[in-house]
Symmetry: C2
Subunit: 584 residues, 2 copies
């Protein structure tokens, strides 16, 4: 038996008992006649003591030889500690070591195994197994486990069945790019890894499985933006015989349950906002509503003077930045430069200070008088002491720019409190979105999303105006997940494919099995998927999902620890009937 | 709202209440003036009634138009039923329909959606979404969910953390064949899908994660034997600071918990048997111990006469078949033919009837007298009324043949009771096994298994004799899972790779990250993996895992429902820098 207790377990009540502990040497403090060592495992740290009076020569020698991260097993007696450490649960005791065995040595680790480490991101990823020994990473993984368990408990208690869907499926080149898997037994053919179990969960609904969920890996071969992973985890759900309202209620319940169980936070009913309102009020389909700064549209009160920039703009829109009237000229110039950065792309920014004394001072005083500016204050909800920031131009672009500014200012003003949770349902998404490059419409969610009742006809006349039974759950400005009511009628699905530019042959080759299935009594159904990585990160009060994944990949899709992907044996390629087009 | 109740819910207590139900039409019985229909969903069946006196003309017309598997929503009143059906929980009531809406029609399904269907395996797989509507399949999937939930609950309660390990890893061409995934972002390089998370779970141990589990998909590109799947699910576990005994106790506890919670069966401590004993007593490393028929070795009592076949044999071995002394000559001849089948491969079979009167009658009475045969009876444990079946020849082959005969006879005699559960730990497996084709030794489990203490030296002199800290859990003659104590010392791991025929360069290229990790304080660790598909099937009292997988693949690795694998767009291949070696 390697241990009778773990390193986080001993208390004063264990005094004088004989214990066996195993773990890693965190630190050694050698005072010559007495040596202390901190022994660490997953559960905590226990102080070990060796001294010349009570420990044998042999044990003292071993103690002196200990290095950081050595793995040792000790036997000893739990003693009251003279200088207590109130910062750790075991801080009142120490263990006088009577036997010690080095189970494994360690060479010097490439970074310190401390909460604040000296290791940079790259080195920590290469030695991820050492990084995981650090409390912040270890605790994130344990936190993730707890969230996943609560999800399963909640859904299972509500009669949802977790069904495993296959990983080796078929490539459907629409949507994002698939990872493909060459088949050896069916040469020249390929499986694809699922981007999501979408069609399978719909088939489970056709199969009567009624309430399905799965915590499941999904795969997308995308050029990785920051904080995306080629493999990621979804909480994937589907329900039959439901309307949108039923689905929102179940998953609002799940989210509330998680916040309650994991964070101890009780939330009331989640607010809802249409996509159109979200875009108008926040310039964003995933608004962070922990703070205000709602958009105030100023066309009516800013296009009546000789200011050509506003007069030529499709949209003039502003926000009131709380307490920022006191910004210096230099601070404001910095803001103007910030919105002009290519990542944001505004041409400039107009501002108006709403002074504490009720007067206004703007960058456009030449054109607008106090009365005009007072109307801007009303439109943006500015109060004395606020700074009104105004952008103008093409409506969509300007909203996006102002949204970026709003988020940046909230960050600077400390309004994005990580311990506050502000969920929001965004509903009534457009069914389609225009691809500006090709001029073609794509499904905004996916081709299985149903339009709102009665809107099929609009598809022919004004496709961009068709709204869908589609919804996202937004938490603190992050899209946690989304879903929709699906099409369950073969004819409607086939019309939808046509509108998305599929020939009947393409639709049949790729999704024939689904349309076949719809002929045999497909029930009305819908569902949603939450991104587990993101959900866990936000619940954990952090921004990057990588910190909540045991073995993440870097931005080039590489696992730098195991050095994958890698070249394979030419024999393997040959068995797959493949060769490299251009030799690498 | 599509339903106020489900179709398995209504009882006499609901009488006279107004309900809304949705589901599939199972059957319609049209008596002209009255029509009954069974409405089915995941939860059960409720009888609907329509009659000319109480239902409108319009509703009667719709009722008459209903076909099998139509999806309908009805409103109605719960009534006491005149002819009760005691076979279903809702059998005391029926619902008089006041409103009905056809939600979706169905064409005639290709097989009947009944417990006993008229559909063969192939058609049921092609229309798996219809097969899943059938109770046996649906119940298997729900059963699987329950088992998986209990596994998670049990392990989580014991402080195990479920950690997701990556699916896109690196190919290691030893073991079985990997599925590979070409990387677009790293051209000419490939990921591999994991055959198991073996190295990652060991790295988690190095990372201090101490008690890990995961219910996880694994992948093997093997030529599929019956009842194998290219993707399968493991309950994968690993623990640090443990000895074999600790691991056996935890997973014996898990198995006992499952049998208790799922089957209501309380089991005592599981018996254990060494690999050598299992081979000697049952000719099999996964013996079914629900019944006896242990092997009796007869060399000492059968090689002293002039019977050359026995005298030339390395091993003479028999079993006592209970109550089979009464077999006719014809029945015994059939047995002899059975062991001679190429799948079994015995040259012949000697038998001795131990008659109820205590006398013996054998096929070798010319050579052996009553006294000899009485010794055979003692060696095989035969009692009056039994039949002793004896095979001889090369020891290993003969044991395998007799094991096959033992299982066949048990099946015929009804000794393999599906409601009885007889677990068995088989321990002390050999570390290596000889590949008879190449004459080389392979790791019997995998290259990370540690030899028994003090046996490293034997590797040079008698590799086949080295025993490992490796164990399997056997349940009713099936291997449920297995595992081992791992090597955690870099030097020993490197020696092991050498003995398995890796050059130092190969070992470094493929497992360098693991050996590197062992330098930084790797703790002693070990673990095991259960096959979830098999475990669920056996707990469910069935033999084929396919029946417990929602969307299984066939023996050619094809998903016949979605028709995968399939050719992909040439553009996709080009992006991956691949071409087909031989055009298909």
């Amino acid at each position: 038996m390697y241990r009778s207790h773990n390193c986080g377990e001993l208390r004063e009540t264990h005094q004088n008992s004989e214990v066996t502990l195993s773990g890693w040497v965190q630190t050694v403090r050698d005072k010559g006649f007495v040596i202390w060592a901190d022994l660490r495992d997953r559960y905590g740290i226990t102080q070990l003591i060796f001294d010349e009076e009570r420990s044998s020569e042999e044990i003292m020698d071993i103690a002196r030889s200990l290095g950081r991260e050595f793995v040792v097993q000790i036997k000893g007696t739990v003693l009251d500690r003279s200088s207590k450490n109130p910062n750790i649960p075991t801080g009142n005791v120490e263990v006088l070591v009577s036997e010690i065995k080095i189970l494994n040595k360690s060479i010097t680790p490439p970074f310190t195994i401390e909460d604040q480490t000296d290791g940079g991101e790259d080195i920590r990823m290469k030695y991820r197994y050492l990084d995981i020994r650090r409390n912040p990473v270890k605790n994130n993984l344990i936190f993730r486990h707890k969230v996943a368990m609560e999800v399963r408990k909640y859904l299972s208690d509500q009669d949802f069945i977790e069904v495993e869907t296959p990983y080796l499926i078929k490539s459907t080149p629409e949507g994002a790019r698939d990872f493909v898997v060459p088949s050896r037994m069916n040469q020249g053919q390929f499986y694809a890894l699922p981007q999501s179990p979408q069609t399978f969960k719909q088939l489970l609904m056709v199969g009567g499985m009624d309430k399905y969920f799965q915590i499941v890996k999904c795969f997308r071969d995308e050029d990785l933006r920051a904080d995306r992973q080629p493999e990621f985890t979804q909480i994937d759900c589907e329900m039959a015989f439901v309307e949108q309202e039923d689905i929102l209620n179940v998953f609002e319940g799940l989210t509330r349950h998680l916040l309650q169980e994991i964070k101890g936070i009780t939330l009331e009913k989640f607010p809802r906002m249409t996509y159109d309102d979200a875009m108008r009020k926040y310039g964003n389909d995933k608004p962070d509503i922990r703070f205000g700064m709602e958009f105030g549209e100023l066309n009516a009160v800013a296009q009546h003077k000789d200011f050509g920039i506003f007069n030529d703009a499709e949209l003039v829109v502003g926000i009131a930045v709380p307490g920022a009237a006191a910004y210096t000229r230099k601070e404001i110039d910095a803001l103007v430069n910030w919105v002009r950065r290519p990542q944001v792309g505004a041409k400039g920014m107009v501002y108006a200070k709403y002074n504490e004394d009720g007067s206004f001072k703007s960058s456009v005083d030449k054109f607008f008088d106090q009365e005009d500016l007072a109307k801007w204050a009303i439109a943006t909800g500015a109060k004395p002491g606020d700074l009104i920031c105004v952008l103008s131009g093409d409506a969509n672009k300007t909203r996006t720019q102002l949204s970026a500014l709003r988020m940046e200012l909230a960050e600077r003003l400390g309004l994005r409190n990580k311990e506050e949770f502000a969920p929001l349902w965004v509903i009534d998404f457009p069914l389609l979105e225009l691809d500006e490059e090709t001029g073609r419409f794509h499904a905004m969610h996916h081709p299985f999303t149903s339009p709102k009742p009665g809107q099929m006809a609009l598809l022919d006349t004004d496709p961009g105006a068709v709204k869908a039974n589609a919804y996202d759950l937004v938490l603190n400005g992050n899209e946690i997940g989304g879903g929709s009511i699906r099409i369950h009628d073969k004819q409607m699905q086939s019309t939808m494919f046509k509108h998305l530019g599929f020939t009947p042959e393409e639709a049949k080759a790729q999704f024939g099995f689904l349309m076949d299935a719809f002929q045999y009594g497909a029930p009305p159904h819908g569902g949603l998927a939450f991104g587990l990585d993101r959900l866990v990160a936000i619940l954990g009060g952090q921004e990057t999902i990588r910190d909540f994944i045991a073995f993440p990949k870097n931005n080039s899709g590489r696992d730098v620890m195991i050095d994958a992907p890698a070249a394979i044996d030419p024999e393997q390629l040959k068995e797959l009937n493949l060769k490299l087009a251009i030799k690498s």
